[in-house]
């Protein structure tokens, strides 16, 4: 039985009719076509599907879409303003923190939320903040460097 819900994603309200067991990542990707949010393990271990819900990072594979109603959901598609990248995105580009790119959206979302609460972090704090997001390409060093650079650019 489908259920009517309203989801607010990247500032836009969507009126949707979905099955109540659908997870947020499924609705974002399959219903709204926002495929920038990636799906891999589907059990909250890899962090690829991270989005922000009221500015807090969540694994969207573990959130039912119905329970995301009434929240401000931000995905990777909602960060850049026209062609101007968000400072965290800009730092990822400048610091060569991207390789295959599959973990990148989740990493960027976590970093954005983390820096909002911790504007002057240490590298160790950054590492802890992104420890729920797996990357196999980079060895994390340039991702940590990028997040530190984004923090510095903000101060």
């Amino acid at each position: 039985m489908k259920q009517d819900i309203t989801l607010k994603v990247n500032g836009i309200e969507y009126h949707l009719s979905i099955e109540p067991q659908r997870t947020l990542v499924e609705v974002l990707r399959d219903t709204l076509g926002l495929t920038g949010t990636k799906k891999s393990c589907n059990e909250g271990e890899c962090g690829a599907c991270t989005v922000l819900m009221d500015d807090k990072p969540v694994a969207s594979c573990l959130v039912l879409a119905v329970s995301a109603q009434g929240k401000e959901i931000t995905t990777i598609e909602g960060l850049a303003k026209d062609t101007k990248l968000h400072p965290v995105q800009e730092a990822f580009v400048k610091k060569t923190a991207i390789q295959c790119g599959f973990c990148t959206p989740g990493m960027v979302m976590v970093a954005k939320a983390f820096l909002a609460e911790n504007p002057k972090p240490t590298p160790a704090q950054v590492r802890k903040a992104i420890s729920g997001n797996l990357c196999r390409c980079t060895g994390y060093q340039q991702i940590v460097d990028a997040i530190m650079a984004a923090a510095e650019a903000n101060t």
């Binding site: 891999s40 580009v93 729920g132 997001n133 060895g139």
Partner: protein
């Protein structure tokens, strides 16, 4: 040395902005009108005869459009080489490993496809399993692969130099055994593809493929269709690390289901399927004996190695050769004897993983070298410096080293990690370990082995580049754009990256072994020169010059030595288009024709150019109470010739090292006694996180390779090869415990400490 304007600069990746905004579309993101969703039914047994598969109930479920099994394919085996064609698209007579796909469903949505899987009934007759090399080689062992009458999939045996004399001359001889575990490849994007078939029967496959043309050739063979009947296009690929070369049941099933239904079929795996049933690294059992002089100079090496490789050969025959071949380097070893076997088993299939089996060889030899140094009281840095191969060196097996910066790599790594200082005042529970390694810039394999690049000149002066090499995250596209810009005398932004599409791209042998920068890089230069030659012929008459006098620099086309006597690049391009009606394109191909096709069985031949070198130093802290190892800091002295993009190179070096720290310490695919994988989720299979990885530093040692593009060597995989031994040696340096069986778990460390203290 020539100064470059684009090469050697850390320019922004061509795909960085696309990826960081979520606009990069991977195979799982694709859709097509009328698309169906596919799912795969997996074997609960590691070894069993398939007696019957009843798909009738599944087919009758509303929404199900087709169900297939192995019998829906022609039954033609495929494989890396003609003598090892030992795998089928999907099994027909028996299953070979836990999680092997036995049937596949296409339905209107994923839920219906899942439901249909539950309605398929498979009758199996359980067979005894072969889990280890010992099982495989036991007399009367059950046969694993139905195309072979032995469990020995391949063997490689060779002897170079006078081994007997070498051991006679040795002042000290040491022999040790080493082993390593099954590890998963670990890319984050699961296998996925979208298959479409048009009304003429032509297939379009868009998959997450590392070497799409390997997939393409194998698939056409196994589907019994000519190459022209299939087009393969690469979307963005979420990492490969050698785990995405071959076609899998995912690709075959999607294509077959699309053929039957006439509708597009997409299959996207969940990651637990990847961890249970797809490519892993072979398990190793090795024995090495080394002879050295009093000063530590190596006089001879004897090695035996058995790789347990799952039910198919895959690239395994090359792995077993590579292990022995790369014992010859990066250290000077005048005589070497090697006996390697690859055996079949009922574990997950193996390909290889980042760094190939040099990773395992180097773990063994650099651990053994450290032990020799300890026994003889030789400083670990000096020991490696004494044995480091120099430039213009010919290894015992015939591999030729043109340029080696290894001595400088060792010097830099030891200086930056603070080796000398650490010897003066040793901190409790802290240690530093070293390992070196060399990785070639792409071997010459049998069959098609060349690289080709095409440069299409647009009338606005920009150039679209397409090459057979594929971008899987390593940054090759950016590197080729840099090289094309440099050679054409254009800004980096003038070169636009095209897509990898078998209809338009010229074919490549594959994306492996650090070959892209080197092989496709040389092809890029050739293509740019071809384009310049054509343009020079067009503009030369109007400049009253000969075509060979024309130069290209700073967006200008001019007569050599007289920059004012020329025209803007755009003017020259328009001359071609508007005066000559010539929309130009440049083409270039490159292959190392002066190196040998190596005989994998005898190991003879010089298989590569462009040997890159690395010296890795890792500082570790070991907790004596818990046995936990913390990686503090890693320094890589890296000789990749001329770095084309230093920041991207650093990312490759760091990434390989972090990847193998997981292999060294945390990762292991565990199997029960029936061959069932126990930890096929990331909850239980632990890949390194940002908190596990150390702080990394890369010191570029610039050399100039005589054959490489702009003097570059292949790069990126060497750090995978040097990391494991550096960690093992660091742990020994910290607490005096030597672990020779990977992974180095806290349990093994605590046991080692207990044994040591009991002495």
């Amino acid at each position: 040395m020539k100064t470059y304007s684009v090469v050697g600069k850390s320019v922004e990746r061509t795909d960085a902005r696309i990826k960081v905004t979520g606009q990069a579309y991977y195979a799982g993101d694709l859709t097509a009108p009328g698309m169906l969703h596919g799912k795969i039914l997996r074997s609960p047994l590691a070894h069993g005869r398939i007696l019957n598969i009843d798909t009738s109930k599944a087919k009758a479920l509303p929404g199900v459009m087709a169900v297939i099994t192995g019998r829906d394919f022609p039954g033609i085996p495929f494989g890396t080489r003609p003598d090892i064609r030992d795998q089928l698209p999907m099994p027909i007579t028996k299953v070979h490993h836990f999680g092997e796909g036995v049937a596949a469903v296409a339905a209107v949505d994923e839920d219906t496809a899942e439901e249909a899987l539950d309605l398929i009934k498979v009758d199996y007759e359980e067979l005894p399993v072969v889990l280890t090399a010992e099982d495989a080689l036991a007399p009367g062992a059950p046969l694993v692969n139905e195309f072979k009458n032995s469990n020995i999939a391949y063997a490689s045996d060779f002897m170079f130099g006078d081994v007997e004399k070498g051991f006679k001359e040795a002042y000290y001889i040491k022999e040790e055994k080493f082993s390593s575990q099954r590890v998963s490849v670990g890319f984050i994007e699961p296998h996925a593809c979208l298959a479409q078939v048009d009304s003429t029967g032509r297939i379009l496959l868009q998959g997450s493929k590392q070497s799409p043309y390997i997939t393409w050739r194998h698939m056409c063979r196994a589907l019994d269709i000519p190459l022209s009947k299939m087009r393969i296009v690469n979307p963005f690929v979420g990492g490969g690390f050698s785990g995405k070369h071959d076609p899998f049941d995912v690709d075959f099933a999607a294509v077959r289901l699309a053929q039957i239904t006439g509708r597009p079929v997409k299959i996207v795996l969940n990651y637990d399927e990847v961890l249970a049933a797809y490519r892993q690294r072979n398990a190793m059992d090795a024995k090495l004996r080394i002879g050295v002089k009093k000063n530590g100079e190596i006089t001879a090496l004897y090695a035996e190695n058995i790789l347990e490789g799952g039910p198919i050969s895959g690239i395994g025959p090359f792995n077993i050769y590579y292990f022995g071949a790369f014992l010859n380097i990066p250290y000077k070893i005048p005589a070497i004897e090697y006996h390697g076997k690859l055996v079949y088993s009922n574990r997950a299939p193996c390909g290889t993983v980042r760094g190939q089996e040099i990773v395992l060889a180097q773990f063994c030899i650099d651990s053994l070298l450290h032990m020799v140094g300890e026994d003889l009281g030789i400083d670990q840095v000096e020991l490696r410096a004494i044995n480091a191969v120099p430039s213009n060196w010919v290894c015992a097996n015939g591999i030729v080293v043109d340029v080696s910066g290894l001595s400088e790599c060792i010097e830099k790594a030891s200086e930056k990690i603070g080796w000398k200082e650490s010897r003066k005042e040793k901190k409790e529970g802290r240690g530093i370990g070293f390992s070196c390694a060399s990785h070639p810039s792409g071997p010459r394999l049998g069959g098609h082995f060349g690289s080709a690049v095409m440069l299409k000149l647009l009338e606005d002066g920009q150039v679209i580049i397409t090459q057979g090499a594929t971008e899987i995250g390593q940054g090759s596209n950016t590197v080729f754009c840099q090289m094309a810009a440099e050679e054409l005398g254009l800004p980096f932004e003038y070169i636009i990256q095209g897509v990898s599409d078998s209809d338009t791209t010229i074919f490549d042998s594959g994306m492996f072994g650090d070959r892209a920068t080197y092989w496709d890089g040389n092809a890029t230069i050739a293509a740019a020169r071809d384009l310049k030659k054509q343009l020079a012929e067009i503009v030369a008459p109007s400049l009253n010059a000969k075509p060979e006098e024309i130069e290209f620099e700073n967006k200008r086309v001019f007569v050599r030595g007289e920059p004012a006597r020329g025209m803007d690049w755009l003017q020259a391009v328009r001359k071609a288009y508007y005066e000559k009606g010539a929309p130009l394109y440049g083409r270039g191909n490159w292959a190392a024709l002066d190196i040998d096709i190596v005989d994998w069985k005898t190991g003879k031949g010089n298989l590569v150019h462009g040997l890159d070198f690395i010296a890795t130093a890792i500082e570790v802290a070991v907790d004596r109470e818990t046995g936990q190892v913390e990686l503090i800091k890693a320094v890589h002295g890296d000789d990749a010739g001329q770095p084309i993009n230093p920041a991207m190179l650093e990312g490759q070096v760091n990434g390989g090292s972090a990847h193998m720290s997981g292999h060294a310490l945390w990762e292991e695919s565990l199997y029960d006694e029936k061959g069932r994988v126990l930890n096929y989720s990331w909850r239980d299979y632990k890949q390194p996180t940002a908190m596990d990885a150390p702080e990394y530093h890369v010191e570029h040692i610039h050399t100039h390779d005589p054959y490489g593009p702009f003097g570059a060597k292949g790069a990126g995989e060497a750090s995978s090869c040097s990391t494991i031994a550096a960690i093992a040696n660091g742990i020994y340096d910290a607490i005096g415990v030597r672990i020779k069986e990977l992974p180095i778990t806290p349990e093994k460390i605590l046991k080692g400490l207990k044994e040591k203290e009991g002495k």
